[in-house]
Amino acid sequence: MKDFFKGKFTLTRRLFQIGTFLFFLAVYYTSHKQSFLLGTFYSFKLGPIHIVDPFIYLTYLGRNLLKADLFVWTVTGFLIPLLIAFLFGRVFCSWICPYNFLYEILDFLKTHLFRKKPLIYFEASPKSKKVWLALALALGIFIPPFPYYILMPGLLSVLLHQLVLHLYSFILFSLLLILMVLFVDLFFKKRIWCKFICPTGLILGMARWKGGLRIIKRKDLTCKECALCSFECPLGLTPHLGNHLEDCYNCGRCVDICKGLRKKENPLDFKFL
């Protein structure tokens, strides 16, 4: 990634990401005084509605089966992320998730400071992703703490709250987990974690509807095959070949690059419906 803010979508997205960070900071500093907005990325309380991470909620249901508390506001909240994913794809990952933001910052620094090739290349087939997701759900059901160890957005936002409270022993513990994942992620070909491992991302990706928000390569406009979009894609996908849909998280980076090239003829664009 060469430019951090350039481009219409990228700029909006950065504002969103910074806004999310500030928003949570504000929530943490006021949480003693109000109970309207509370929570982390595991589960966020918006008035009476508890928006819950689908992976966390599915393992919760599995763990408790008949004894699960089917609180109507939590069940509603569980459906909200799925609905958003159904319509807009994995926008949570690209526009909100703090882990993605952190990673993009590091990725930006990496391209400017090291310019190294990834050490290990890794690709996974759609089928193996489903197998892993099933395994992750089973592990989450039988080992209660498991989901909380691998949920990067949750870990980061809890970490932020513990910073506000000055509870440093917890911070050290979760920082270690986050650094481990970052370490893996930075050495593999782009974003092995977000593309193949993070169960939340996998579930949101599967909830996606083909007719929802997506990137298309228009056939009526000529593509120069410069592949700049593919170099810039934070997930290491290949939008210039038009085969990127499955993992793409709708960040709009490729559209920005494409639009920046030529003012009128840009084959890459967002499409909804």
Binding site: S35, L38, S43, F71, L172
Partner: protein, 158 residues
């Protein structure tokens, strides 16, 4: 090696269920105005992220703000009456408690929020815990002048 007994926030379901139910969202920790609730990390990685209270540092003051914000039913969100809370039961160590050693001390008695019910002074001198009324908030453990505390809250077993 690892800590296994944890004092859960008020309204918590029994321990074996709490571990499965709590989704570790930290909302109870956020709403607590006294910062009584902390999250588990090194103390026991198997309980990673579960909320608990270290009474000696900061007890629960029974403001009852945390049960209603719990999304998972790990805390009973209908609980409002602090007298109905049951987090644990206080136990007095008669070998170290100053009152039992012959000095005059009524720190726990004076501070107990279930005043004159959960803790009674027999003959106005010796504190006794009445198990039926003690809610296990840990305020007594917190104020006890003896080091380590001569009155300690034992979290409820299953």
């Amino acid at each position: 090696m690892f800590k296994t007994k944890f004092l859960r926030p008020p309204g918590a379901v029994k321990e074996s269920e709490f571990v499965k139910k709590c989704i570790r969202c930290g909302k109870c920790q956020q709403i607590c105005p006294y910062n009584s609730i902390v999250l588990t990390s090194w103390e026991n990685p198997f309980y990673f992220g579960l909320p608990y209270i270290i009474a000696r540092k900061k007890p629960c003051y029974l403001c009852m703000k945390c049960p209603p914000v719990c999304p998972s039913g790990a805390l009973d969100r209908t609980l409002v009456d602090k007298n109905k809370v049951k987090m644990g039961i206080a136990r007095i160590n008669r070998d170290t408690c100053w009152a039992y050693q012959g000095s005059f001390c009524r720190a726990c008695f004076m501070n107990c929020p279930i005043f004159d019910k959960a803790l009674k002074m027999t003959d106005e001198l010796l504190p006794v815990v009445i198990e039926k009324y003690c809610v296990g908030c840990g305020i007594c453990e917190n104020v006890c002048p003896v080091e380590p505390s001569a009155i300690i809250v034992e979290p409820l077993k299953d």
